[in-house]
Amino acid sequence: MLYNVHFGIYVDVAMPVEDKSKSLLPFLSSPKLLPDESEAEFQSGLQSLLSELDNPSPLAVALVSQLNESFWWIKRHTKDKELLLHEAMARLLSKAGSYSETYDNRKVSEALERYLDGRAVKDEAEWIDEILDESKLTLSDLRVRAFKDAARHIKMVDDLIHRQHQTIRHLQRSIDSIDYKSRLIKRMDLELAALESKQSVKGALTLDDEPS
C-alpha cells in the first residue's frame, strides 16, 4: 500500500526494511526549486543522504528529506551573499560620476554581473572599465565599499544560514533518536526470543524429569 506523506513522499509500508529505501527514491518529493536550479542535483543530494540511513523507516525518510532541503537552503543563501555584494556594487557604480543621469541601475547591474562572471562582451567590459575609471575605483575597492554598504543585509543572510545549521542539528538528533529506538526494539526482541527459547528448553527438561 502506498501512502503520500503530504510533501510528496510515498511509502510502501508492507515492504521489507532493506528494500524500503530503494522503493522510496523514485517517489521522493516534488521539490520547490527556483527556475535556475537543477532538480538532478537536488535529488542526488537526497539519495546520498538516504543511502546513509541504517533503517529507512517512513519517518526517518521524511526527516532526511527535510534535512536535504535545509542543505539546499544553505546553498541558496550562500549564493545570495555574493548576489548582495553584486547588487551593492552595481548601486555604487550607477551613482558614480556623471553616469547617474545617463545609465539606470538595472543596466549597470546586468552588465556588472556578466563582467564578474567573465561572460561580458568586449563593449560591455570596456563600459564597466570606463565607469570604474570615472569613479576612480578598482574592482577590489568597489567590492570593499559594496561590502560595507551591504553589511546589514549580509548579516541577515548569515542569520538565515545559521538558522539552517540549527535546523540540521535538530533533524540529526531526531534521526539519531529514531535509529536508536529501532535498534533498542530489535535488541529487546532478540533478548525476548532468547528468553522464550530458554524457557521452552527448561519446560521440556522439567517435563522430561517428571516420572511417567
Binding site: 503530504h6 543621469e101 541601475n105 541577515m156 538558522r163 535538530h170 533518536s177 529514531i178 526494539i185
Partner: protein, 174 residues
Amino acid sequence: MTMNHRRSLANRSNALKSTGPRSESGKRASSQNSRKHGLNSAPDFESSVEYQKLVDLIAKEGFSAFVCADIATGLLNYRRVMDSYYDTYTSPEPVDEFTRDMNVKGSIPIFRELLSPSGSKPQDVREMAAFFASMQRQERRKGGPVSRRCSDTHKLIRYQRNAIARLSRAVRQG
C-alpha cells in the same frame, strides 16, 4: 477559586492594561501582522487527510498514539512554515525603479512647472522635492530584489525555530 481560574482572571486584567501600538505607523504595521504569511493563525491539521495518513504511518513504527499525533502535527507544522518561507523568498516586495533611480534635484524644474498653475510658492516646490527625496531614501534603504527577499525571509526565522524545536521534541520524546 482554582489556580487556573485565578490565572485566567489575572491574564484578563493584565490584558486590559495593554495598549498595543501607539503610533500611527505602529498601528498600520501591526494591522498587517497576520496577513503576510498567515503563520500566526492556528492551523487545523487534525481534520486534514494528510494528518490521518501520517499518524497511521508513524504508528506502524511503534510509537504511542499520543506521540504519533504530536509528530504528525510537528511535521505538518514544519512543512507549513517552510512552504511559507519559500513563498516569501520567491515573491519579495517589488522594487519601485522609478522612485529609486529618479534624479530628484534634476526634477525640481518639472515640479515647479507642475505646481505653477496653482500659484505655488518656492517653498511648495522645495517641500515636494523633499518628499520625493525621502521616498527615494526609503526605497534605496530596502535595497534590490536580493536584499528584499533576504530581509523578508529573515522575519520568518522565529517561526522556523519554533516549528523545528516542536518537531524534534515530539520525535525524541517517543
